[in-house]
Subunit: 491 residues, 2 copies
Amino acid sequence: MGKNLTSRAEDYSKWYNELVVKSDLAENSGVRGCMVIKPYGYAIWEKMQAQLDKMFKETGHENAYFPLFIPKSYLSKEASHVEGFAKECAVVTHYRLKNAEDGSGIVVDEDAKLEEELIVRPTSETIIWDTYRKWIQSYRDLPILVNQWANVVRWEMRTRLFLRTAEFLWQEGHTAHATKEEALEEAEQMMHVYAEFAESYMGVPVIKGTKTESERFAGAEETYCIEALMQDGKALQAGTSHFLGQNFAKAFDVKFATKEGNQEYVWATSWGVSTRLMGALVMTHSDDNGLVLPPKLAPIQVVIVPIYKGLDQLDAISEKVEPLVKELRSKGISVKYDKRDTHKPGFKFNEYELKGVPVRLAVGQRDLENGTYEVARRDTLTKESVKAEEIVEKVSSLLEDIQENIYNKALAFRKEHITEVDSYDDFKKVIEEKGGFVSAHWDGAPETEDKIKEETKATIRCIPLDAKKEEGKCMVTGKPSARRVLFAKAY
Amino acid sequence: MGKNLTSRAEDYSKWYNELVVKSDLAENSGVRGCMVIKPYGYAIWEKMQAQLDKMFKETGHENAYFPLFIPKSYLSKEASHVEGFAKECAVVTHYRLKNAEDGSGIVVDEDAKLEEELIVRPTSETIIWDTYRKWIQSYRDLPILVNQWANVVRWEMRTRLFLRTAEFLWQEGHTAHATKEEALEEAEQMMHVYAEFAESYMGVPVIKGTKTESERFAGAEETYCIEALMQDGKALQAGTSHFLGQNFAKAFDVKFATKEGNQEYVWATSWGVSTRLMGALVMTHSDDNGLVLPPKLAPIQVVIVPIYKGLDQLDAISEKVEPLVKELRSKGISVKYDKRDTHKPGFKFNEYELKGVPVRLAVGQRDLENGTYEVARRDTLTKESVKAEEIVEKVSSLLEDIQENIYNKALAFRKEHITEVDSYDDFKKVIEEKGGFVSAHWDGAPETEDKIKEETKATIRCIPLDAKKEEGKCMVTGKPSARRVLFAKAY
């Protein structure tokens, strides 16, 4: 199996597209902008889901399921919300097909037109708040802490596997609270949950912050986000958590009786991460040889490849390997023993490198004689010979090492790619030549933000949570600024 | 909490609808025919999913994800398939909304018409076999054993929560094989997996069999099914597994090179169960007091209700109960200790009865003094006093007992409701007066089947797998018949 993978230096974008397809994560379908997530890619997504779901439940959330369709009139109820989504809505207008009268095939049956068009959900605030109206009467019904795992559709013109697809999979949390403070706390909490997941499981360091007004979710009063940095110096928004104020409660007339007996509008949050995380995972760690997966999310953590001539040798190897497979599995490690005789060891090595399996053990005749395994780690592509009696411990510690190492590597890369600048000229130069995050002063005006975006394609990724207070002057207008914000070109 | 539940005897259908809503399983949404699955209902569905997913993986299947949308032309490729689904398709025709020119609100943007209409998947054979064409070249690529958890849409005119909704959640397995025998084996295997799940987890006895030609899935050459019997004597198809022959391979031109180097069409199966199972669960076990849930699928297996006056008494009770909660949880039992002081014990008893919690422990002042718990089981509504030191063992054994008991009860009911008849008059009488399955001879002709359906509303639910060979005469036409088949009115 030759990899024939374009190198990152040659064409990062091409490398990404090729890698996603060749490593069996996903591929384009016959439906414009919609992808097929292949079993290997889906197995990673399942691991992400399982961990996130656990973290959501640990913070008190329950899952539920709301309709795929949203009546057009619902979407219109929150003004800024509809403005944000109207241009990318898939619209259902009919509910039946029929045979064409001229016998030319199947056509839409015009007699089966819907009274009101239905939108395929681009996000579910409207249908959910229409439901919450029925669930909430008094403060005793609050908070509602609900999450949904679902597919959503946003009709994008330019799509890329995982990063931007017309249909994608995600989770969307939608919570309802009695007070503004509680809702703000919830929104902030979920940003921290996302950051913890990204860093400890995906091995992707992220910067926590808030969005500027123009980058906020359509209908939000505050958007918290986590921002990651890809190897090509472009940022990627990996998750968002929105404080929605009382906007949706007002649009859908959701009030509750307070302890004192007053009627008040309910406070809301929503938060989501999507299959886009798969793109972030690939672009953070992988190299010119293929995927590099964090052990905590790798469908196969360890692969064992026998090197043999003839079935006798294979039998002798299997006799040693099979108990090892059992022992590793008993420790919760997912192992594949690949003894296919249709493919050569070199082919297999290439395949598992391409697929990012963290640890590879090879065992041949000489290893049998010496009582050793050849151990290769995917992140550093280094090999060593390890005694059989030490192999279980070695594998366990390697998996931890790799998880830590790829995080540290990504963190070091990001540190090297946060540049402070004080002039707009320097800004343009860094954005153009070096990439990464640029930390600069900005006067807080959307017009300045727009101008910068237009001239450099860089946007404000976030106002970092931990930004130190520092008086300064906007690099563009010279007007006063209270703290630096982070700019970058972004996916 | 008064239950105010219509009794089954009074109006079974009304009882079902009320129960689903009042026990917080699901409710109708503002979108015609689409339901909201509430957290309590979704928690049961999650448990079903987890167990089924485990069983699918144990039989070698992997998950993947395919697009929500299907181009109209794909659906048309398999003739009987499109005929089966065309009349209930939600059709996407546009991809954008815009502000109406007269300022009246948001309208569909006619400039954003799709070149080819997209169908919201009613099932995914077509989009999947369009994909499999790319995945399959040689016998080495087979079998493909893939499952998908997804939402699907079938535009039904009359809908009922869980039983028949426009959108529903399901899993659909789609496998590809080199030989007819292997595909048949797979289809049959999955029927057995479904039966095992229904009986051992849901506590729902099922009859395994095959469908008659007119009841087969659109595009299948054989449909295996599991059929359950509800308390009102109506049958419910709980799962189906289809042998699709080479129909989809031919429609989508999916061939493979055999070991001998010939090009042959691939053999296919598909199989699915859906949120309809939730309806079967409710209608098999529940009673006039509410849900009765099998312990293996109950989100809360044990609830503990303290009976106290004043916080001192509550503290004394909690001191005893909290270690018990821990101990039960350590055994993998899900426990809720409900010490809300906003509701009285009687209200709580009612609530957990309605929600079908299998075991309820109550503990009051006298229990504290005597070192006992009052233990109530939901299935029989019986109570007993149990010594504190025996309570863990008691709860464990009760959960097993209840799981077994509700299955046995349902099985006994079904046995009483399989009636053999030899004349059409008797048939009509049993169908009308007693309900349940009727075992009768049929000549194998679709016309006879149609006539029976028209005259009695009963359909052939299945040709049971274990039907004993028995020569006989069709009860309607008197023509020869080789074995009895099972008729019933059905959901």
